[in-house]
């Protein structure tokens, strides 16, 4: 065997993850063993999506699919070894990080997301837990189990995607058509969470998520989002005014003006006006001081 499985590190609905190493190189790897026997419809859709999209992407900020092999009727994805993730780092209060560190992480995240988008792939499940760290501090976008191709305009999609707190307003409204803008919203929420170090929009359930989102950022109206009121659930909504600049400054105390612009660009209600990955990457936030930290120098272990 070219790969060894040394330690079980996680178990999800459709896979078990092991740490191991590659014999020929000694390189540390993770093996995601897909439990195929559990599925009556043959290979599971999440596994198929993961294989399909990871095969297409080679980028420093997207998890690397090293190899795939079959053993004992199981499908095994060999992935690069990524020891921790952003959720762990945010929660570990003994780790201190600076605005420059946040800038470095969000920049790497956006590069990975942009690479997905320019390959016409939607991730559909961006959250701190799916942003992994390599040993040298690089952020890697991972878990493509919900990914899909960017749809043609007429295609009908399910709005039941993305983990609740990171779900864009059009998804909360149950939109059947949406774009790569949903991923950018998630990045915006993650950015806010990095600055606050607590989840920014922690809805208790799907209804509460709308309440929490619109209370924080204002209820969208037809003026800035034409026909938003024609969504079925719109009528039941409490109308909140959008936060003033001062309110935002008070909530995000350490944020510069450019950082706030950058966040508001990603957290724009109207998906057509929301910033694209390119707009984000070219924002003044990345051009002003402090420069993003060198990822390998940021301490992410307590």
């Amino acid at each position: 065997m070219e790969y060894t499985k040394e330690k079980k590190v996680g178990e999800g609905t459709y896979a078990v993850v092991y740490l191991g190493s590659q014999h020929s190189t000694g390189r540390k790897i993770a093996v995601k063993e897909i439990k195929t026997s559990e599925f009556k419809d043959g290979l599971d859709m999440s596994a198929i999506r993961e294989v399909k999209y990871l095969q297409e992407m080679q980028h420093p900020n997207v998890i690397e699919l090293v190899d795939i092999f079959m053993a004992y009727d199981n499908l095994n994805l060999v992935l690069e070894f990524l020891p921790t993730d952003l959720e762990v780092v945010i929660k570990d209060k003994s780790i201190l990080f600076t605005p420059a560190d946040i800038k470095a992480w969000i920049l790497m995240t956006l590069r990975g997301v942009y690479h997905c988008h320019r390959n016409f792939i939607l991730h559909r499940d961006l959250k701190p837990n799916n942003l992994l760290f390599s040993p040298d501090g690089q952020i890697k976008v991972a878990d493509f189990g919900l990914a899909r191709a960017i749809p043609a305009p007429h295609e009908i999609l399910t709005s039941n995607v993305v983990t609740r707190w990171y779900r864009a307003p059009e998804l909360l409204f149950g939109a059947k058509h949406y774009t790569s803008a949903i991923d950018i919203w998630s990045v915006g929420v993650i950015f806010a969470e990095l600055m606050l170090r607590i989840p920014y929009l922690p809805g208790q359930n799907d209804v509460d998520q709308m309440e929490v989102t619109f209370r924080a950022l204002g209820t969208p109206t037809d003026r800035d989002w034409p026909e938003v009121s024609s969504f079925m659930t719109y009528n039941k909504l409490q109308i909140y005014p959008p936060p003033s600049r001062d309110e935002l400054r008070k909530r995000f105390i350490a944020a510069s003006e450019y950082a706030l612009d950058f966040m508001c660009g990603m957290l724009t209600m109207n998906p057509q006006k929301r910033w694209t990955a390119v707009q984000c990457l070219e924002s003044d936030y990345f051009k002003e001081l402090p420069s993003p930290s060198d990822p390998s120098t940021i301490k992410i272990h307590s």
Binding site: E56, F120, I150, T276, V278, L281
Partner: protein
């Protein structure tokens, strides 16, 4: 929608074309001049296509493809012949029996295999369309099936047994989920036979599932032709062309052009089949030739002529802006013509011919049935002869 440049070479592994027209939205705008890092390089859509698994794993030169097929065929032949030898050594065969084996238990040639694969690939299309699956799913099923038989020989895996498996996997891969039970019911198959080779199929596909089909480029060209030839093309007519090209693309996916050309090149080739004059005019307008920089003279009114000049100039500027070499429409046309003739070439096997090859395929794998058949025939012959003698 200006992003439809097409690579210049096709058969060598060098310059594939943009695969879709959506590229524009995703393309990085040039940063402010002074902020560009020293190693600034724009990634083109061609660069992205070169990273796709379709290009890395499933694009070949003609020689490479031929070699691959010869290899797969030779491996199967070696296996079959070894088996035949065993049969001859193990059983005590009469001279007649040996002769039957020598006459009829013959492995398929590479050409026969290819004929059979294409015959069944067409079946995949017919069945998938009969199941009312979306165009892209049908196309993916066909391409899975044909790729599977680049890696495997029909002498090792019966093409019939993999038809439903490829369609079912294509459904899942294209996000068009149908449960295996309802699929089995609709396709008049069974759960077991559909899933039996699913792993084998995935493995043979080298776990590469994302297909770039020429339908999206078709939509792009459809819009861009109307834009570039504004006021000179009839919308209804373009609609008809669109529908006919869609069918032609599906037909093209059944041929080897998918291994030699990029999706937009194949699209242009199907457009060329429909209306050569239109495509030629469009490409000349879109990519004016360098030596002959004179504007094409429009036979219609002056106003239009001015329009032409504007678009042409704009295109030129864009090309310069991008720092890309402008595309030579003559060279491009030559490539597309080549592709077109390959699309028009195939003469599929008749059902009769396919049956013959399938029978041959069966006998070379099951030589003993030939001998049993011979024995039965001789048994039947003998009593009949005796009867005749009595009369």
């Amino acid at each position: 929608m200006t992003d439809v440049q097409v690579g210049e070479k096709s058969t060598s592994n060098s310059a594939p074309a943009n695969m879709t027209v959506k590229g524009k939205e995703a393309e990085l705008k040039p940063a402010a001049e002074n902020n560009k890092p020293f190693n600034y390089k724009r990634i083109s859509d061609d660069d992205l296509y070169r990273h796709s698994s379709q290009y890395r794993m499933w694009s070949y030169t003609r020689d490479q493809l031929q070699e691959k097929r010869i290899d797969t065929n030779a491996r199967a032949i070696a296996y079959i012949e070894e088996n035949l030898l065993k049969v001859r050594e193990a059983s005590n065969l009469t001279e007649e029996e040996i002769k039957v084996l020598e006459d009829k238990a013959i492995p398929l040639t590479m050409e026969e295999e290819l004929g059979l694969v294409n015959f069944y690939a067409k079946k995949v299309q017919v069945i998938a369309q009969h199941l009312n699956l979306p165009t892209e799913v049908v196309a993916t099923a066909i391409s899975f099936f044909r790729r599977f038989f680049l890696e495997n020989s029909v002498m090792q895996i019966d093409p019939k047994s993999i038809v439903h498996t490829t369609i079912f996997l294509a459904c899942k891969s294209e996000n068009y989920f149908i449960s295996v039970d309802s699929f089995a019911q609709k396709a008049k198959s069974t759960r077991e036979s559909i899933l039996k080779f699913e792993f084998k199929l995935l493995e043979s596909l080298k776990f590469s599932l994302l297909n770039h089909h020429p339908y999206k480029p078709l939509h792009g060209f459809f819009l861009d032709i109307q834009n570039v030839l504004y006021g000179k093309v009839d919308l209804n007519y373009m609609g008809q062309i669109y529908d006919r090209c869609k069918k032609r693309i599906t037909a093209a996916i059944l041929t080897d052009v998918v291994y030699f050309y990029t999706p937009p090149q194949i699209t242009l080739a199907t457009l060329l089949i429909e209306d050569e004059a239109l495509v030629t005019r469009y490409l000349e307008m879109k990519f004016p030739s360098r030596e002959n920089s004179q504007e094409p003279v429009s036979e219609s009114g002056e106003k239009e002529e001015q329009n032409d000049t504007n678009t042409t100039k704009k295109n030129k500027e864009q090309n310069l802006d991008d720092g890309k070499s402008p595309i030579d429409s003559a060279k491009l046309l030559a490539i597309i013509r080549e592709c077109k003739s390959l699309i028009e070439e195939p003469k599929p096997l008749s059902t009769e011919e396919a049956k013959k090859i399938a029978a041959k395929n069966y006998y070379c794998q099951n030589p003993l049935t030939l001998i049993q058949k011979l024995k039965r025939k001789m048994n039947e012959d003998t009593p009949a002869a005796e009867k005749r003698q009595k009369i």
